[in-house]
Every structure is written in structure tokens, then in C-alpha cells.
């Protein structure tokens, strides 16, 4: 019987497999950052252990850094201490750090791929649940807790039980204005925030194949939002072209050897999945979430579900979510005034996202009632955006381009959405308080976020595109 892509990569990384024990899985690259690593370094010190393979460990500061004036010392004392701790730990244990001020600094899931560290067939872990992003290259990549960070530091391996395998196919042609973010929000809305738990999910189908690497990363990034262990997409020419020539990509003979191997990485025609789901691209509208988990999403023209449509035992949780969001049964979000727009996060802060937003907002200006933040995913994305003049387009539109970091995705630094305010956000989580205490998040694509910033209301990007040349500038 044939093998799935997931099993091919997993089997190639099993160091030891014993009945009744989880497998010992070899990790090619361990990404670390300032928030989930300090306790792991302390653990190593207590045990008197070194980092086993420091050259296979890559560090950056992203979660807890300011996104303006990064050249100045961090003002907030605890944040500064945490970032300094990472610098000290990396120096002590011999780990390469792309910290603030380094040309490679950025969100860990943006820099891995853009530096050519993330490659097809590899295994990648990080103390961050959105590590699933790297699966877009046809790799096994997932988030781990700090005890496991310590485990990988100490052994370059992880104890892991093999998850079940799910295939999610999307076929057909997307409507104009609908993109990768809408696809994944649509899938999660159909299968719920727990629908993928216990599975490694392979995304397939011609709609997925047609996506750029940036789009594929957006899809795999949000695999965790349906509870999946990881998400992955078989590598193809798009993948190979993306990796080629990047800083740490293989070169010369090594490259040819690598590409020959990558071409063997696909699920065999007769491979068995534990679950297969299929969706039609034509059914997908621009998506927006209305609730407090990413499964609570609807097409932008649809109405918020009625409480009575849920089972009795679920109604309390549903009502709590609507109350938090200040919404009511059957409300339509379209046209609802908003306060903030956040374009950024490991889901949508790559150069393609910024180019798409810039192209759309060129010559337009944000509505007066909206504050917009554009936060690039990395220093390299920021520099590229400036080289292409996107920063000027953003400035003229009232969309200031900030400096790289996780920013308002999780409200760890000062980039917080105030209590009660609505934010259309390109990030990945709409949990209560995620973007700041009592903030209210509508998750959407970069285009929907940009269009909503221009009108000051939740907007159907398709309306803009229909009348694209007619000036709908507010």
C-alpha cells in the first residue's frame, strides 16, 4: 500500500520506535524565541546539559518586541528583561540569534521560510503553535510546549505519537477577491475549532496547487485553529522556485540532490487517509469571523447564526461569545463600523500580503474612524517593502508601516486594541482578549481588512473589485 506524504517524512525521521512508547522523532531545525525558551534554558542548567545541536537551533525575538523605534532600548522593563535573557542564553549555549537590529530578525514563521531554513521533507518545531506554517513546504512542523523545547534542546529529538492522517481537498476556481485566508477560514468554519484535533492534515486539490508559497503558508499556519497537529502541502515547482537561491538553501550539487529527493515527496495514489474532506472553491466567499474562536466564521454577506440553531448544551457558550463581541442573533456584519485594522502576524505579513494591500489601497485613504497598523513579518519584508516603495503608498493611505514582530496578534507588547473596540485583523485568533483586554476581533483576509479600513466598515471586497475603476474612496 502506498504512503502518505506525512508518513514518508515521519518515517525518515524516526530514530527509535518501540511498542507502547511514543516514537523518538529527529528534529532538523528547532526555532526558538524569547517567550517560551527561558524556562527551557533554566532546565538545561539544572540538569547540567548543553544544547545538543546548537547549529540546528535558530533564535529570534518576535513576540514581545515593540514595533516602533526598535533601535532604542525596549521601554517596558519585563519585556526588555525577557529579550535580554534570550540574548544571554543564546550566547551561553552557542545559538545563532537574529535579534532586534539583525537584518534577519522577524516573526519566527516568516524568517524560517524566507531564509531557506524551512525546506521540503524536513522536521521543524518551535514553542509556538503556528509552527504549522512551515508545513507549506511539504514538511512536518508543529508547535510544542516549553518542556518539549527543553527536550529538543537536550536531544535534538522529540517523543511523539504518530497522529492520524486527514486529507482536505479544495478544487475549482476562487471568486475574484477570495484568497488563501478565506479558504482556511471557510474550512475551519465548516469543521470547527476542534475538527482537526489528533490529525496531521494534508491540503490538496487544484485550488491549493494554484496558490503561491505565501498563500500555502497562510493555509498551513491556521491548521492549529482547527486543532490539527500540523498541516502540510506536497512540494512542487512553486515550492522549489521559492526555496532556490535563499540564504541557507542548499547550493550546487547539494541543491540538485535535494531537489531530486523533494520530487519523491507526495502522497501515493493509493495512500490511505483516516479522513478525507472535499470543498469547492466556488462556494467560498470572502470570510469574516463573528465569535471568539476561529471556527465561528461566516461569508461576509451572511448573518450571525441564531442561538436556537445550536444544541441546548452549546447555547450558553455561544451566547457568552456573542455578548463578548457585542453582537446579536442574525446580525449582519457587513456595514458594521470598525475602529482598528491590523495587517500583520505570521498568517499574513509576508511581502505578497503587503504588495496585495498596497496595490489595493494605492490612491485611496483610510476612513477617519479607523486606526490602521501594518506590521511586516520580518526585517527583510520591511526592507523589501521600502525598496518597492510600498511604504509611501501606505503612508499616503494612512496605513503606517511599522517594524517587524507579532504585535497586535497577541497583544503582548504595547500594540493592543482597546477594550470594546472592533478590529478587522489578518491574524489568526479571535479569542476573548487576544488583541488586548476586552478587545473584539473580526478575522479576515488582507484584502477584506484593507477594504474595511478604507470604508470604516466591514466591507465585501467583491463590491470594490466589481466597481474597481469607479472611485469608491471615502
Amino acid at each position: 500500500m502506498g504512503q502518505t506524504l506525512f508518513d514518508k517524512i515521519w518515517d525518515a525521521h524516526v530514530v527509535s520506535s518501540n511498542e507502547g512508547f511514543p516514537d523518538i522523532l529527529y528534529i532538523d531545525t528547532h526555532f526558538i524565541h524569547e517567550v517560551t525558551s527561558p524556562q527551557a534554558f533554566d532546565g538545561l542548567r539544572t540538569r547540567g546539559l548543553p544544547v545538543f545541536r546548537p547549529k540546528q537551533t535558530v533564535a529570534t525575538a518576535d513576540h514581545n518586541v515593540p514595533t516602533i523605534d526598535q533601535h532604542l532600548p525596549i521601554k517596558e522593563e519585563l519585556s526588555r528583561y525577557q529579550v535580554d535573557m534570550l540574548t544571554k542564553n543564546c550566547a551561553e549555549f552557542g545559538i545563532e540569534l537574529y535579534g532586534l537590529g539583525h537584518p534577519f530578525q522577524g516573526i519566527v514563521h516568516v524568517i524560517g521560510p524566507e531564509l531557506g531554513i524551512t525546506r521540503p521533507g524536513g522536521t521543524y518545531v518551535c514553542g509556538d503553535s503556528h509552527t504549522s506554517t512551515h508545513g507549506a513546504f511539504g514538511a512536518i512542523a508543529f508547535g510544542i510546549g516549553t518542556s518539549q523545547v527543553e527536550q529538543v534542546m537536550a536531544t535534538q529529538c522529540l517523543l511523539q505519537s504518530r497522529p492520524k492522517r486527514m486529507k482536505i481537498e479544495v478544487n475549482g476556481t476562487l471568486q475574484n477577491g477570495v484568497g488563501a485566508k478565506d479558504i482556511i477560514l471557510y474550512i475551519i468554519s465548516k469543521i470547527s475549532a476542534a475538527g482537526g484535533t489528533g490529525y496531521a492534515v494534508e491540503y490538496a486539490g487544484d485550488t491549493i496547487r494554484a496558490l503561491s508559497m505565501e498563500g500555502r503558508m497562510t493555509i498551513c499556519n491556521m491548521s492549529i485553529e482547527m486543532g490539527a497537529r500540523c498541516g502540510l502541502i506536497a512540494p512542487d515547482q512553486t515550492t522549489i522556485e521559492y526555496v532556490k537561491g535563499r540564504e541557507f538553501a542548499p547550493k550546487g550539487e547539494e541543491w540538485d540532490k535535494a531537489v531530486a529527493y523533494w520530487k519523491t515527496l507526495y502522497s501515493d495514489a493509493d495512500a490511505q487517509f483516516d479522513e478525507v474532506l472535499s470543498f469547492k472553491a466556488e462556494d467560498i466567499e470572502p470570510m469574516i469571523t463573528y465569535g471568539t474562536n476561529p471556527g465561528m466564521g461566516i461569508g461576509v454577506t451572511q448573518h450571525v447564526p441564531e442561538t436556537a440553531s445550536f444544541e441546548t448544551k452549546e447555547q450558553g457558550s455561544y451566547k457568552k461569545a456573542l455578548d463578548y463581541m457585542g453582537l446579536h442573533d442574525d446580525e449582519q456584519l457587513l456595514g458594521k463600523p470598525i475602529d482598528y485594522v491590523f495587517i500583520g502576524s505570521c498568517t499574513n505579513s509576508r511581502i505578497e500580503d503587503l504588495r496585495q494591500v498596497a496595490e489595493f489601497v494605492k490612491g485611496k485613504h483610510k476612513a477617519d474612524n479607523v486606526t490602521v497598523w501594518v506590521v511586516p513579518g520580518s526585517k527583510q519584508v520591511q526592507e523589501q517593502a521600502i525598496r518597492e516603495g510600498l511604504d509611501k503608498i501606505f503612508d499616503e493611505a494612512g496605513f503606517p508601516l511599522r517594524e517587524p514582530g507579532c504585535s497586535a496578534c497577541l497583544g503582548m507588547n504595547e500594540d493592543k486594541i482597546p477594550a470594546g473596540k472592533y478590529c478587522v485583523s489578518t491574524s489568526n485568533r479571535n479569542f476573548e482578549g487576544r488583541q488586548g483586554p476586552n478587545s473584539r476581533t473580526f478575522l479576515a483576509s488582507p484584502l477584506t481588512a484593507a477594504a474595511s479600513a478604507i470604508t470604516g466598515r466591514v466591507t465585501d471586497i467583491r463590491e470594490f473589485l466589481k466597481s474597481s475603476e469607479s472611485e469608491l474612496v471615502s
Binding site: V15, S16, G20, F21, P22, I24, Y26, V35, T36, Q39, R47, L49, F52, H63, L78, S79, Y81, Q82, M85, G127, D128, S129, T131, G143, I144, G145, T146, S147, Q148, Q151, A154, T155, Q156, C157, L159, S161, A193, A194, T197, G198, I224, G227, R229, T292, N293, K313, G316, S317, K320, L410, G411, M412, A419, R429, F431, E432, G433, R434, P437, N438
Partner: protein, 196 residues
């Protein structure tokens, strides 16, 4: 390194009948700036437990003196979202030894097991039985036995078995440690690297 041992507990419970409780509720990101493992219990469920002036919200269960105990009982898909182990640390640091739900998010479950905090997955029916029992008597006592893998509502004798990975069970009941186990296979790791 020895870790915390868990075999059996029998205590009253704290009910939290809400579904999809994510790790941002368990411990909001702004409290993740600490660089040690201690003290997170003070901020467990911070924004449900305290208002913007840091005054306790009276309607939240942790602020209700009628409820206490070492078992937290919550709605399905507990611990979804971020991989932050701080969520497991906060629950354990507050004083819980076990969390009962009808479904757990994957990463949270692993983090809990790595910290001597037992996630007990029960059926929807049994979860409802516990909530109903607590509704009827706030001091309902529940027994959890990891060795024989059962959970019981003591007053009624209703019980259910639960699944646990046999390796993790051995770790929790004996205080074994993952890193010690993997390091015992170090030569296999080096052989694997050479063969790559």
C-alpha cells in the same frame, strides 16, 4: 530528573461549563513575560476572574468560596489555541492536580502531562453527570485513579474509565522524565545523524 508523581486523588471539584476554553483565557499573553515557571496561578483565568481594576468578579467560579478542590471540570475542547505551557503551569500552580473535559486540545494535553497535571477525557454524558451532580451539591466529591484509569462520582458510584498513553502513565505514576528516557538512547540518535 524526577518529576511529580500522580496516582490517585479524591476531592471536590471546580466546575467551568464553558466550551472551547482557549489558553489565552487560561493565561493571557501579557502575563507571559516571566522567565521562570512559578507564580502563574495568580493570573489563572485573569480576565474572567478580575475586572479592569483588579477586583475579583463575584460571579466567576474561582471567586466563589463554595467551590474548591483539586479537579477542574470544563466544557469540551479545553486548552485550544496557543502552545504556551504557561497554561498548564498556571492551572497546576493554582493548585489543581487534574482537569476533566469531554475533549482536550492536543498541545495542551501534552503540556499538562509533562507537568504532572492529569487531563482526564470523559464522555459527553459523564461530563454532564458531573456538572449535574455539582449543580445539586456544590461539594460533590470526585475520585480519579490513574493506576486503574477510572473516574468516579463518589456519592452515586457512577464511574467511567479513561484513556491515557501508557508511556505517559508510567512517567506520571513513577516520576519518570522524558529527557532521561531519550538520553538513554543517545547512541541511536548519533547513529541516525551519521546515516543521514
Amino acid at each position: 530528573m524526577a518529576t511529580k508523581i500522580f496516582k490517585h486523588i479524591q476531592t471536590s471539584v471546580v466546575p467551568l461549563p464553558i466550551e472551547n476554553i482557549d489558553t489565552d483565557q487560561i493565561i493571557p499573553a501579557r502575563f507571559l513575560k516571566a522567565t521562570t515557571r512559578e507564580g502563574f496561578g495568580n493570573n489563572l483565568f485573569r480576565d474572567w476572574r478580575f475586572d479592569e481594576n483588579n477586583a475579583p468578579k463575584e460571579d466567576f467560579v474561582l471567586n466563589n468560596p463554595n467551590f474548591s478542590g483539586k479537579i477542574l471540570v470544563a466544557g469540551k475542547n479545553f486548552g485550544c489555541g496557543s502552545s504556551r505551557e504557561h497554561a498548564a503551569w498556571a492551572i497546576a500552580d493554582y493548585g489543581f492536580d487534574a482537569v476533566v473535559s469531554s475533549f482536550f486540545a492536543d498541545i495542551f494535553k501534552g503540556n499538562a502531562l509533562n507537568n504532572g497535571l492529569l487531563p482526564v477525557q470523559v464522555s459527553d454524558d459523564f461530563l454532564k453527570k458531573i456538572f449535574d451532580a455539582v449543580d445539586a451539591d456544590q461539594h460533590t466529591v470526585v475520585e480519579i485513579d490513574l493506576v486503574d484509569q477510572f473516574i468516579k462520582i463518589v456519592a452515586t458510584g457512577e464511574q467511567e474509565t479513561f484513556e491515557v498513553n501508557p508511556y505517559k502513565k508510567a512517567c506520571m505514576t513513577n516520576g519518570y522524565d522524558d529527557i532521561d528516557y531519550i538520553l538513554s538512547k543517545k547512541e541511536l540518535i548519533e547513529e541516525f545523524e551519521e546515516a543521514k
